[in-house]
Amino acid sequence: MSKELVLALILGLMVGFGATGTFYALQHRPASTNPPVTTDLSSANPSPTSDNPSGLTNQNLDHQITIKITSPANNSAVSTAKITISGETQPQYTLVLVSTTNPNQPVTTQSDTSGQFSLQASLESGANYLDLYSIDPQTGQYFQTNLYITYSTAKF
């Protein structure tokens, strides 16, 4: 009887310690060592013509100037004659947007201290090519990207 009791006690202790130990080990294991997901900009196609609904990043590798257009997506169709182009570039850079709607008078702005920018563009009915420049105001180094947008009120 006493032999059975001792065996049951040992078995119980083993199960108890086992469960506690496993739980403790799981709670205190080191954080995942998976590398963070990054985008290798150096291999990114600098051409903005490929469709990229999540935004567009182009980079001048010589000067490390980047333009990321967050809205609208390249190759979009819109139903309003005015759109807001927003995105991110280097902080306090000069942004110049040239379009065929008013080619002699581009729209200009400056990115804020975090690099965010926003520009209003007027579109003409049909196809619109928009060239966006991000320029270092002190050195004149720049990077240019473009957007293709169609303004159409047709239902489809």
Binding site: L13, V15, F17, G18, A19, T20, G21, T22, Y24, A25, H28, S47, T49, S50, D51, P53, D62, S71, P72, A73, N75, S76, A77, V78, T80, I83, T84, S86, T94, V98, S99, T100, P103, N104, Q105, P106, T108, T109, Q110, G126, A127, Y129, L130, D131, Y133, I135, P137, Q138, T139, G140, Q141, Y142, Q144, N146, Y148, I149, T150, S152, A154, F156
Partner: protein, 236 residues
Amino acid sequence: MLPLLISLIALASPSPIPSPSPTPPSSEVQKIRQVIQEEVIKKINQLRSPNPDQTINPKFSFHGQVTIIDPDKLVLDIGNSSIQTLNYNPDQLTVIDSSRNKSDISQIKVGDEVITLGNRLETPGDFELMRLIKVKPGSIKRPLPLVIGKITDISTTTSLFTLSTASLKQDFQIKYQNTTAILSPSGQKIKSSQLTIGQIAIVVPDSKAKNNTTNSITAATIYISNFSTPSPTPKP
């Protein structure tokens, strides 16, 4: 025994003791609060934005040249060595010719310049073509490139300056006229007499000028990106 050993090892290993972090000063806390507040307001404004273009637009459009026409798909050359495949249902496709009349897919030939409109499908890169508009070749214009560089010489006799571009490693003769707007990026007017060597100029070529050549450009607008107002000379 294995669980027992694991538990003993796990219990024996020292647990990391959190080091006491110094309490940031109240000004830093205030700054962090401000930054968080700004970010939250920015996000709320983005979500409340009435402009539908602020979100990913489900409507797509491509401009290019037809390279393949299949019964259910069209392939376009959209420039920069990129091609785009668009699926279509002939019964749902509207085709417009270059005279803006309704047409038929059978009238579209390889080599035609077209504008396409349709819907992005759930799978990224899949498109459903709904409208196909044939356009006259070369009728869709692109903006003239800007010329950006440093002013290296200014003519004292004519309305002309030399702009040296680092990116193109080239010098341009920039002509300006009475109609040329010379501005700071914020829109402040600058007199031509305020142009100086060393300033960074962003030159918008006059799209109507006929005498623009590869090295000589008539400017419609000139922005001086590093323009600073000269401080007034103190009077004695």
